[in-house]
Symmetry: C2
Subunit: 228 residues, 2 copies
């Protein structure tokens, strides 16, 4: 009866540590102690198994996100919800989930990195995502829709690395213990908050000459096109 659960648990554990492509069904069934065909009976395919692994927990996180953003919007009345609070509504449920189950959050990050999440999000969480996009748009009305969505794209990438990124600096393993997770997420929020608050990107200077003239003549220090 709990064959399904055993498969889901084993899959979550293994995929979180080894990635989706790096985990074979035979590993999963061996750890779960079930038969290979049971996976396809219950889930259809490896990809569908992944969907179920993610959905059974992501749904709650998503629900909580929706609840928080609604609460903040109600509190804000007619005015916009601040960028900081929108990000809080987005990340706080994730931090909570990570405190309860670090594995799952790591798995989500990995799946995002492997490019497997967007399809799922589009299938199941599009409304929530749109809701956050609109909230951010109200908080930063100067930003074009294009720029805002790119910044959200950047946000997802940064989040993915925050959650499951491997260290680039071997001499020091930053993510020592799980208790540091909440701190990392707060660092992420600070970083992203500033990013969203940045002035709009000037769209001018479309390849006049070759911008790579930077190369061998000194770069003018003062009048950069970037508002930094």
């Amino acid at each position: 009866m709990d064959t399904k659960q055993k498969i889901l648990d084993a899959a979550e554990r293994l995929i979180a540590t080894q990635g989706f492509a790096g985990t074979s069904l035979r590993q999963i069934i061996s750890e779960a102690g079930v038969n290979l065909a049971a996976v396809h009976y219950h889930f259809g395919s490896k990809q569908d198994l992944l969907d179920h692994v993610i959905l059974r927990k992501a749904a709650a996180v998503n629900e909580e996100r929706r609840r928080l953003i609604e609460q903040f919007e109600a509190e804000a009345g007619p005015g916009p919800v601040s960028v900081e609070r929108v990000l809080t509504a987005f990340f706080e449920p994730m931090i909570e989930a990570g405190a309860r189950n670090p594995q799952f959050v790591k798995l989500m990050g990995r799946m995002y990195g492997e490019g497997l999440l967007p399809a799922l999000i589009e299938k199941h969480f599009q409304p929530t995502l749109t809701r956050f996009a609109q909230a951010l748009q109200r908080a930063r009305p100067e930003l074009s829709q294009g720029e805002l969505r790119w910044r959200m794209q950047f946000m997802f990438g940064a989040m993915s690395q925050a959650v499951c990124g491997q260290d680039m600096f071997p001499q020091m393993s930053v993510q020592a213990d799980d208790s540091a997770f909440a701190l990392v997420m707060r660092r992420l929020m600070v970083f992203l908050c500033a990013g969203f608050q940045a002035a709009i990107t000037p769209e001018a200077e479309t390849d006049e000459g070759n911008r790579y003239s930077v190369g061998h003549s000194p770069v003018p220090a003062g009048d950069s096109p970037k508002s930094c």
Copy 2:
């Protein structure tokens, strides 16, 4: 004689569009018109083939990055190079590479997402990476080494999504044409620049009670721990 080149070219093209895991050696050899065993003869394994695909072009980008940061440091004299200029030294060579060969840059982003790049970077580009970390540290001396490296981690994640991310919003495909690539990268730089410039993350408030009290009582609006 050009068997090696044919394999490298086909691999770059296919992996850039389908990812590493999603591309089989048999696809590659079919497109290159060579024998399967030739791959293992010339490169040893699929993973090693990927290393060669990346290294043959990434080395130049990396060299250019090193050259630029050195130039900026020379111009700055004893003072620090600004965050903006450090990021320029980092991204400008990549923008150039993308203008010449969009495929390659996309491939790099994909590999980063799949978690295959950090090992390579550590093996071959550690000195350059350390150099940029030091430059950023001088530009933002208030940041602890840990926080700075996390922000770099966020940067890599955002970059990865900027370069190869799939759209989350189906109704509108943002990355319409390749000419938009430079604009996206400038948007990324503006975003990241603000992120690095953000005030340090307060490390206090370590789980006193349960921070999720946010839940059912209204969240205090004013006195947030995040400096946003």
